[in-house]
C-alpha cells in the first residue's frame, strides 16, 4: 500500500481530548475509541466530535478503519466474531457502546445507506414503509402520505407513483439507491451513515444522490465514507482523514484540501496514495 512513499515523521501530533473544542452542537462525540477484531486493532484511540447538521466526509486509504468506525456507530459490527470496542461513542451524550443500548432505537436514530442498493423483497411502497412499520411510527392512515412525502423528497415520486406495488428490483440501480434513501428517511433519523453510497452508481445517479444530501442538511447529519476525493470536496462541510486506524486530521473541508497540516494528508489528497 505504501510503496515508494517517503517515511513519515514518527512523532505525529495526535488529536486528543483537550484539543477538541467541546461543542454543544456536536451530535456524535467519540472519546478514546479503540476498535478491533480479536488481536487486530483497527481503530486506535480516536477522539472526535461530529458537528450537527452538516455533511462530514471520512476519507483515507483502504484499510484505514473508516468503514469499521462507521459501522460501529450503529453497532452493525456486533455480529462479527471477535469484534470488540473500547472507549465511547455518544449520541447527544447518550452512550452507544453499552450493553444496555437499545439497538433498535439507536438504528432508528442513526440510519445507514450502503455501497450498493439493497431494497427488500417487497413492493416499492412497502420498502418505504418498512422502518415505519417496524418502529410503529405512524398509524396506517398516514402510510400513503409517508410514502409520497419520502419518495418526493428523494425525487422518485414521479417515476414510481403508478407502480408503488411493483417490485423494486425493476428499478434502475440509481433509483433503487434513492428508494433505499427514502426508506431511511422515512424513520426520521438524526444521523445517516453512508458507506460509499454512490460507488455502484452511474454519474447521473451520483449527482442526484449528492444533490439530495446537500438539500437534506441541516435536518440530518450525514457521515459519508468515500473513496472519491472529488466527492468529499463537492458534498462535505467537514472532512476527517483516517490513516492506519488513527484520525490524522479533521477540519473544514476547504482547509483540509487547501491547507493540509499532516504530511500523510497532503500525500493522500494529492492523489499519490490509496
Amino acid at each position: 500500500m505504501l510503496q515508494d512513499t517517503p517515511s513519515f515523521d514518527g512523532d505525529v501530533k495526535k488529536l486528543d481530548e483537550g484539543s477538541i473544542t467541546e461543542s454543544a452542537d456536536a451530535v456524535l462525540s467519540v472519546r478514546h475509541l479503540e476498535i478491533g477484531f480479536n488481536a487486530k486493532k483497527v481503530i486506535r484511540d480516536i477522539n472526535l466530535d461530529m458537528p450537527r447538521g452538516h455533511v462530514v466526509a471520512l476519507i483515507g486509504p483502504t484499510g484505514s478503519g473508516k468503514t469499521t468506525f462507521l459501522r460501529s456507530v450503529n453497532r452493525l459490527n456486533d455480529k462479527i466474531s471477535g469484534f470488540w470496542t473500547k472507549g465511547s461513542i455518544s449520541l447527544h451524550g447518550e452512550e452507544l457502546l453499552s450493553k444496555d443500548t437499545d439497538l433498535l432505537e439507536l438504528r432508528r436514530k442513526v440510519g445507514m445507506l450502503f455501497q450498493r442498493p439493497n431494497p427488500f423483497p417487497m413492493s416499492i411502497k412497502e420498502n418505504v414503509l418498512a422502518g415505519v412499520k417496524a418502529h410503529r411510527l405512524a398509524p396506517k392512515s398516514q402510510h400513503d402520505e409517508i410514502v409520497r412525502e419520502n419518495l418526493e423528497k428523494v425525487g422518485l415520486w414521479k417515476a414510481v407513483q403508478d407502480r408503488l406495488n411493483d417490485s423494486p428490483f425493476r428499478l434502475s440501480g440509481g433509483q433503487q439507491q434513492l428508494l433505499c434513501l427514502a426508506r431511511s428517511l422515512a424513520v426520521q433519523p438524526e444521523v445517516l451513515l453512508l458507506d460509499e453510497p454512490t460507488s455502484a452508481l452511474d454519474p447521473i445517479s451520483v449527482e442526484a444522490v449528492e444533490d439530495l444530501l446537500r438539500k437534506l442538511v441541516p435536518e440530518i447529519t450525514f457521515i459519508v465514507v468515500t473513496h472519491s476525493l472529488a466527492q468529499a470536496r463537492r458534498i462535505s462541510d467537514h472532512t476527517m482523514f483516517f490513516y492506519d486506524g488513527k484520525l490524522m486530521e479533521s477540519g473544514e473541508t476547504e482547509n483540509i484540501f487547501n491547507d493540509p497540516q499532516m504530511p500523510e494528508t497532503q500525500y493522500y489528497i494529492s492523489g499519490r496514495m490509496g
Binding site: 450503529n74 452493525l76 439497538l103 433498535l104 432505537e105 439507536l106 438504528r107 432508528r108 440510519g111 445507514m112 450502503f114 455501497q115 450498493r116 439493497n118 431494497p119 427488500f120 423483497p121 417487497m122 413492493s123 412497502e126 418498512a130 422502518g131 417496524a134 418502529h135 417490485s167 423494486p168 428490483f169 425493476r170 433505499c180 426508506r183 431511511s184 424513520v187
Partner: protein
C-alpha cells in the same frame, strides 16, 4: 476459429438490408453437443410416456374410466379359461381400480410434507444462521448423508423400529383422546401394529427433509448480506429480518424445493412398500389404516402380475404407473405456476438482479 463467430452463425441481411442473427447459431461442435444435451431429456420423457401408454393400452380399454374411481383390486381367476371383453383378453372376473392407491399416494405424500416442511425450513435456518461455522458444516454434512441413505434402510427402520414404537406408545394416546368430530375422527380407531398411513408418511417425511432442508439452507446463504444488514440497520429485530427479508427472498425457491420433495414422496417405492401394510383394495379410513400407494403397489404386485397369462395384470400396473407419472408431472406444473406467481410480486429471482 469459428467459435468466435458462433453467435453470428448463419446470419444474413434480409431483403430490406436489416441484419438478423441466426437463432441457433452455426453448427459448431459445441452447438451440436448442446443441441443433443437439451433434446435428450425431452425425448426421454416422451419415450417413457409412449412406451408406458402402449403397454397400458389393453388395460385402459378393459378397465375403462371406472379404473380411476373403483376400489376393487381383483386379478381374476388365472386358472379358468380367459375371456375377451372389448377386444381384450383377460382372466374371468378381473376387476381393477386405482382409487385407493391414488388417494394413498397423495395422502401419504401430503402428510409427509406437513411434517417435513416446517422441520426442514426450521433446520435450514438454524444451520445457516444460528450454528457456529464449524458446527454448520458438520450439520450440513449429516443433512447430505441423510439424503444418501438407501430407501430400503428407511423402510426397514420404519417397519421394525419406528412403527412398533409409535403404535405401542404414541398412537394409542391419540386414538383414545381424539374427539369424535370431523378431521379428529381420523385419529380414532385401531392403531394396528404400526404399519400404515401415518407411519409411512412419517418415514417419507424424514426422507424428504434433507431435500428441502439442504436446498433451503443454500438459498438462505445466498441471500445478499447487504440486504439483511440493511434491515438490521433500519432497526429490524432478528425475527423481523427473517420474516420480512430473508424468507420472502427465498420463498419461491422453497416452493420449488418442496415440490422436489413432494415428487420424491409420490414416487418413493421401497420404504412405503415395507411400512404401508400393502393393502390394495381399500381407501384408508383412519390415519393408522394399512394402505398402499401406486409405486408400492407396482413393486409388490409385479411378481404375481407376471403369472397372469393374458398379460392384463401387468398392463394394469403400467396403467397405474401412467397415472403416477401424470400426477407427478401435474405437481411440477403446479409448482412452476406457484413459483412464477410468488416471484413476480416482489422477488428478484429470474429478474437478473
Amino acid at each position: 476459429m469459428s467459435i468466435v463467430e458462433t453467435s453470428a452463425g448463419d446470419a444474413k441481411n434480409d431483403a430490406e438490408g436489416r441484419f438478423q442473427p441466426h437463432l441457433l447459431g452455426r453448427r459448431t461442435p459445441i452447438a451440436i453437443v448442446s443441441a443433443i444435451a437439451t433434446t435428450v431429456p425431452a425425448i426421454a420423457v416422451i419415450a417413457v410416456l409412449l412406451v408406458l401408454f402402449s403397454k397400458a393400452l389393453p388395460a385402459i380399454k378393459y378397465n375403462g374410466l371406472h379404473f380411476l374411481t373403483s376400489s376393487a383390486w381383483n386379478p381374476g381367476n388365472f386358472y379358468a379359461n380367459p375371456v375377451v371383453t372389448n377386444g381384450v383378453e383377460h382372466p374371468i372376473l378381473a376387476k381393477y381400480g386405482v382409487w385407493p392407491l391414488l388417494t394413498g399416494t397423495l395422502e401419504s405424500s401430503v402428510i409427509a410434507l406437513i411434517f417435513a416442511l416446517p422441520l426442514s425450513v426450521g433446520a435450514a435456518f438454524i444451520v445457516a444462521k444460528k450454528l457456529p461455522p464449524r458446527l454448520r458444516s458438520l450439520a450440513g454434512t449429516f443433512l447430505e448423508l441423510l439424503a444418501g441413505i438407501p430407501s430400503v434402510i428407511f423402510g426397514l427402520w420404519g417397519a421394525l423400529t419406528l412403527g412398533p414404537i409409535l403404535s405401542k406408545h404414541i398412537y394409542p394416546f391419540f386414538a383414545h383422546h381424539a374427539p369424535n368430530i370431523i378431521f379428529f375422527r381420523l385419529f380414532r380407531g385401531n392403531t394396528g401394529n404400526g404399519e400404515g398411513l401415518l407411519t409411512s408418511a412419517l418415514v417419507l417425511g424424514i426422507m424428504v427433509v434433507p431435500i428441502i432442508a439442504s436446498t433451503t439452507r443454500d438459498l438462505i446463504s445466498a441471500v445478499p448480506r447487504l440486504t439483511e444488514e440493511g434491515a438490521a440497520a433500519l432497526g429490524f429485530t432478528e425475527w423481523e429480518i427473517t420474516r420480512k427479508v430473508t424468507f420472502p427472498w427465498i420463498s419461491a425457491g422453497v416452493i420449488g424445493a418442496t415440490v422436489l420433495g413432494f415428487a420424491r414422496a409420490l414416487g418413493e417405492t421401497m420404504a412405503v412398500a415395507m411400512v404401508s401394510g400393502a393393502v390394495l383394495g381399500t381407501v384408508p379410513h383412519t390415519i393408522y389404516s394399512t394402505y398402499s400407494t401406486i409405486a408400492a403397489a407396482i413393486v409388490t404386485q409385479l411378481d404375481s402380475a407376471l403369472t397372469d397369462a393374458t398379460g392384463l395384470a401387468v398392463e394394469t400396473l403400467a396403467e397405474a404407473a401412467l397415472i403416477l407419472m401424470a400426477v407427478t408431472l401435474l405437481a411440477n406444473v403446479a409448482a412452476r405456476y406457484l413459483v412464477k406467481r410468488v416471484s413476480s410480486t416482489s422477488l428478484p429471482i429470474g429478474k437478473g438482479l
